[in-house]
């Protein structure tokens, strides 16, 4: 079950933050996303080995906290996507396809000529598409 998705911009400013549970405290999820930014920075600036992993966009499992798993993804423009989930047995391929669809929704939102780069994403369509993607996460593995 996905509890939170976030889009964080170039200077680590939040561009879009959405949580999907009523029970949990939204602030705690924001805090988790904030902590994961450090992990992303460290992964990006010190690649574990040179070669193929230096240029990957999907960063994988960032770190597991008490009941959550946090996944990261970075685009070519240093915009980061963070996904917080409570599932214990999440398949890697599922997360990758989730990020791919999320990236495509993000590109569509940014292509809006009225969107100012570096400011919050205010598009209603983007929010709807994200909700659809989150709802269909894990239930089927279609592209």
């Amino acid at each position: 079950m996905i509890v939170c998705v976030a889009v964080v911009g170039l200077q680590n400013n939040p561009l879009y933050l959405q949580s999907f549970t009523e029970a949990d405290d939204a602030l705690k999820l924001h805090y988790i996303v904030h902590c994961s930014l450090d992990v992303i920075d460290e992964r990006v600036n010190n690649p574990k080995k040179t070669g193929s992993t230096m240029n990957e966009t999907f960063l994988g499992l960032l770190y597991p906290t008490e009941n959550y798993k946090v996944y990261g993804y970075i685009t070519n423009t240093k915009v980061k996507f963070v996904l917080v989930t409570t599932d214990l047995d999440v398949k890697d391929a599922d997360v990758r396809s989730f990020f791919r669809r999320f990236h495509s929704a993000y590109v569509d939102a940014v292509s809006n000529p009225f969107h100012v780069t570096g400011k919050k994403i205010n598009s209603v369509f983007f929010a709807e598409r994200v909700r659809d993607i989150v709802k269909s996460f894990g239930t089927n593995t279609t592209v």
Binding site: N55, N76, T77, S111
Partner: protein, 247 residues
Amino acid sequence: MIGVGKVKQYTNVLDKPLSKGKQEVSLSAFAFLFSELVQYNQTQVDNIAELERRLEDAGYGVGVRVLELLCHRDKGNRRETRLLGILSFVHSTVWKVLFGKVADSLEKGTEHEDEYMISEKELLVNRFISIPKDMGTFNCGAFVAGIVRGVLDSAGFPATVSAHFVPMEGQQRPRTTILIKFAEEDGNLAQREREICAKNAAFMWIYFRRKCGPALLSFQGRVVLFSARTNGLSAARMRERDLHIMC
């Protein structure tokens, strides 16, 4: 999605699903739009430099979005972290998507370490434009310069980009050159490139050494050529530059 079975016959044309549409825009539509953009900006400014700056800013927005779109659509899961990589990306992929062909050439400047030039016999945006004599060296290619600046800036390589006319003998119209000057302070860019090259070289060195022990001297040349990409750059300039980096 239309299934792979038999095609349904639609009685009413309104019931047919929308076609995907062509991936191209007509040149005349774009030329009209661009000429209107230039004319609109002309009424708002007092001098040429301001007009050029406005066109460049218009192109900047396009460049940022083009980078996002192309990285997601065409590049799959790769990110560009190398200077040569991003330059050849601009030179081939971006040009192909925007103008339907790759740029004519990509060259490295000889005076300064961090200057590069993309030249084109005739920019698509300039095709239906002729500059009056009293506007001096104004070039509507400033729009394209803005696009390139947008792409480089959002990829993490800040640069100043400008468009110039370069007269060529034997040709009626001058060639257009987009000059890219990278703006890293204190030579950080060259330093970063050196580090990445050194890391690559060290990796290759260990690999080669394990494979075949002696003949170390001939490695250096091969390692250098191996570790840098050679898309579009003239080979002689490349080798000289990379040997310089290795020393």
